[in-house]
């Protein structure tokens, strides 16, 4: 029983971590109407930046201090980079068909991934966990890794923060209105282009923050972009685009399915997320929380 609880916590924490990244994807899609296939690459940038700050720049500094700095630095730097990308490459294709937009972000994913390779090479790196987050939290008979609990905490915080931003602040209202009707916002005098840039940067901020947070747990190296991207896509496909809450539920479900799947059907561990996705799609092709879409 205790094993199951610990697996559940692990699954939920992975879910929250995934949620953070996926929420960025949802935000970018909702406001820019662009599917950011480079999202995984930005996640990777976040991981690498975290590694770079903790292990290289502030290597003399204890992880307890350097890690929080790294988190913020990674997310902010990546977001700024994202802003540059948005202005230079994504703006020209705002009005283009999804086909071109998707191929463009696909190419972007290649470019960014190779940029990382150029900057940091092909090795796999580890990031030291800060001591106050390392080790287990002992609750009765349960040994819960502190970092997992930390991730759940951060994930919850992000979710609530996003909820508040989108529902209670003026910025959030503007963003939501742009989601519903870009043309109308334009007509009302809002600069939709800058709103989009901001939304993109917010999405990238979340993706890279997710990457930075994942760095101490997973290794940092080539290929992590693909893994996270596919998982994000599964989260979004299962949830149906549109709601952040939906993404949260979907991500946590995926995390749990994965955790328990590994226990019960270890031989097909890598295929579990996909099986999950396929089952959901058979039952509800437009995702659990999506709206039925006509297919012509």
């Amino acid at each position: 029983m205790d094993l199951y609880i610990m697996q559940a916590v692990s699954g939920v924490s992975v879910g929250f971590s995934l949620f953070m990244v996926a929420s960025g994807l949802v935000i970018i899609f909702s406001i820019l109407q662009v599917l950011n296939i480079a999202h995984g690459a930005f996640y990777m940038v976040g991981s690498y930046l975290c590694f770079w700050v903790v292990q290289i720049i502030l290597s003399g500094v204890p992880a307890n201090i350097s890690f929080p700095i790294a988190l913020i630095a990674a997310a902010v730097l990546a977001a700024l980079f994202g802003g540059v990308v948005e202005l230079s490459i994504i703006r020209p294709i705002y009005k283009s068909e999804p086909l071109y937009q998707m191929i463009l972000t696909f190419g972007l994913a290649y470019v960014i991934a190779d940029l990382c390779r150029f900057l940091w090479g092909m090795n796999f790196y580890t990031v030291t966990m800060p001591t106050f987050l390392a080790g287990p939290l002992v609750v009765g008979n349960l040994y819960l890794p502190k970092y997992n609990v930390f991730l759940i905490g951060v994930g919850l915080f992000i979710y609530i923060a996003l909820l508040l931003i989108f529902n209670k602040t003026k910025v959030g209202m503007i963003l939501r209105a742009t989601t519903t009707d870009r043309e109308m916002m334009n007509a009302l005098g809002w600069n939709v282009k800058w709103i989009s840039t901001f939304a993109f940067m917010l999405g990238i901020f979340l993706a890279s923050l997710g990457g930075a947070l994942a760095a101490p747990m997973n290794s940092v190296g080539p290929g992590i972009d693909a893994a996270v991207l596919v998982n994000c896509f599964i989260v979004v496909v299962v949830a149906g685009f549109g709601s952040i809450g939906g993404a949260l539920v979907s991500a946590i479900l995926l995390g749990l399915v994965n955790s328990f799947g590994i226990i019960f059907i270890p031989r097909v561990a890598t295929a579990i997320p996909f099986i999950f996705m396929v089952i959901v799609l058979i039952v509800r092709p437009w995702g659990l929380f999506g709206k039925p879409i006509r297919t012509w």
Partner: protein
């Protein structure tokens, strides 16, 4: 929009040119060394894969990021038929595309129920499902070790002979595809690309049409996969990885997705660039990505479109 005036009827390459090209291709083994001839064989196989993908992207107007998965199905089906079931080369080569078509029909059934972004997402996810299956199912596929030593008949073992074999198969496949695309089905497919709602309101069940297209495309990419497996005598899970789908997209976009020969031109360029650029730098994916980005912003109709516009602009005026 103007240049599209020309592409629709780009007769830059008439029948004469096709015959010339084929004759040249037949004579290549006498002129080129083994290494170059190998590269040309790769180009041919990639061209077929590109044509298959373009059926969906250029003619059907649907982005797919998962065709590498179907390509891998073709390769592995061929390999497993021969290695595990002892099926003779010729039969395996014939069966592989049909098996791929079935896989395509299954994947397609899910995907065509959605459009645009969702469709693309799903194709990518399915491509990776296939990768995951191939990668984990050690007992059957040998997982990430891949399969080796796929037997090919004695007479095809030399590079020139496999080259001719590939040339024949690809040419026949291309002809069949051209016939299909010139049929009423092809006209309607392009109309679906342009405005699927309207076609739906002309009495066509668009979803089924897309499904059929997906299956056809899978069939042809299965041929490409099988050819490649025979060519290299080995198959690996990487064949199914999403980055391979990216290569197909580059071939289609770089060459030109609005013309039939576009992917063929694209594959020649791609293999050429691959060889040249990897000689100078490891950052080949960077180059690929930049090509994709540039094509979507500046060269939407690819090289063929670009040339068609320049060449035909000097000719008639509309």
């Amino acid at each position: 929009m103007e240049y599209l005036n020309k592409i629709g009827r780009s007769r830059v390459f008439g029948w004469g040119a096709i015959v010339v090209v084929l004759v040249v291709m037949c004579l290549l083994p006498f002129v080129l060394s083994g290494g170059w001839l190998s590269s040309v064989t790769e180009m041919l196989i990639l061209a077929l894969a590109g044509l298959a993908v373009n059926l969906i992207v250029g003619y059907g107007g649907m982005v797919t990021f998962g065709h590498a998965g179907l390509y891998a199905v073709g390769s592995y089906a061929f390999a497993l038929l021969e290695l595990s079931l002892g099926v003779p080369f010729a039969i395996a080569m014939i069966l592989a595309p049909f098996i791929t078509a079935i896989a395509g029909a299954v994947v397609g059934w899910f995907c065509v129920r959605l459009t645009s972004h969702y469709f693309a997402l799903l194709t990518m996810a399915f491509g990776m499902i296939i990768w995951a299956i191939i990668n984990s199912w050690y007992s059957v596929t040998n997982g990430d070790n891949g399969l080796f030593g796929i037997p090919i008949p004695e007479m095809l073992k030399s590079i020139p002979s496999y080259y001719y074999f590939t040339l024949i198969v690809v040419t026949v496949s291309a002809i069949i595809m051209k016939v299909i695309l010139s049929s009423p089905y092809g006209v309607i497919l392009r109309a679906i690309r342009e405005n699927s709602t309207r076609v739906n309101f002309l009495g066509v069940n668009v979803r089924n049409y897309k499904w059929l297209t997906f299956t056809l495309s899978a069939f042809f990419i299965g041929i490409a996969g099988a050819l490649f497996a025979g060519f290299t005598n080995s198959v690996f899970p990487q064949f199914a990885y999403w980055t391979k789908s990216g290569e197909f997209l580059v071939v289609v976009l770089l060459g030109g997705m609005f013309s039939f020969i576009g992917p063929m031109v694209g594959s020649v360029l791609f293999v050429f660039l691959d060889k040249v650029i990897t000689a100078y730098t490891v950052y080949w994916p960077f180059v690929l990505g930049m090509i994709l980005i540039l094509c979507t912003i500046l060269f939407r109709a690819g090289i063929v479109g670009f040339i068609s516009e320049k060449v035909l602009r000097q000719g008639d005026r509309q």
